[in-house]
Subunit: 218 residues, 2 copies
Amino acid sequence: MDPPPVFMKTRDRILQTSLQLFNEQGEPRITTNHIADELDISPGNLYYHFRSKDEIIELLFQQFERRMDTALQTPERRVPNMEDMWLYLHLVFENIWEYRFLYRDLDNILSRNKKLRTHFRRILERKVSTAAAICKGLVDAGVMNATSEDIAALARNIAVVATYWLNFQSVRASASAAPRNDGNNLGLGVYQVLALVAPFLNGEARRLLQQISREYLA
Amino acid sequence: MDPPPVFMKTRDRILQTSLQLFNEQGEPRITTNHIADELDISPGNLYYHFRSKDEIIELLFQQFERRMDTALQTPERRVPNMEDMWLYLHLVFENIWEYRFLYRDLDNILSRNKKLRTHFRRILERKVSTAAAICKGLVDAGVMNATSEDIAALARNIAVVATYWLNFQSVRASASAAPRNDGNNLGLGVYQVLALVAPFLNGEARRLLQQISREYLA
């Protein structure tokens, strides 16, 4: 792993290195001593910036939440279209991937910290409501055929698959909890969510979506 | 909570009471002392039957696995039909519900025990392959319209939603990790999976499925 650039502030370097270590090795395996070691600073220096590993996790979660809030904006002033759907999925999966340690040990992390649980719930609700708003836009634009009942169920399923895809793949991929590299799974995750949407699309849009879906598989 | 019938063997009473306590309060909150207390037996008596909480969890997992294996049988000697699909979903969700503590702290439990991880992976694979076999049967019977690519993606999505529905609802339902009662979520889970299948069904079967789906919502 490349060390963070030296001109970064120590606090930011600690956050960046923690994120990398958590993602690569799983948050439960990493202690503040590992993080200090990796940065070649003393544990005392690390504690000057963060009192505990949980405080580091909270800060990383705040970064993640800000990025998710940006990803989960529905376009105002115009009807959402297919590009919004792709952009939504792209950004949501990109963020999940960059902060994948949160998703891999979700129950664990959320049961330790009530505040994160409340915030994570907010993110889930927004995943559902943004997916529903985009689908409604596609129906209004005549691209999608779905009742409001269909859309409600579809939006929940989009949120479930987007949220738990990495866990699912990580259990399927290997019997050991150790190596946590699954680069291809992200594209397959987008593919899986597009597969939820596809059957509701009209001819032309459906063919286009299937074409794009296949690119995610490659 | 009613105590188990007194004529049960102590070993079985321990398993049954543990399962109830784990499901109601979450496995991480329950110690072997809680279990002994609830049964009004001494901790020594409990340790005579099980050396640790993890041994109890392993035994409960074995029960769960046997029941899942039965639920995940594809009919031999005949083409699977819509009733097989309902039965599959019904039994899978029923088993998940009866052993819901496993699913609620899945990452946690699987990261502590490699053996369970291997077995859980086997169950996931069977969820995917049985769902795919049933869908293929529906296509052969002319009830479903789907390519083999559609079926592969659909079967994975069925397994993801069936596996993680309770986690999703438990994060959405409440900001606190404490009370774990969510009776309605099970029916909604079946509804969500049926909603994955519905768009691939032909007219008559689709209407029938939507009718049944609504009953799960009630």
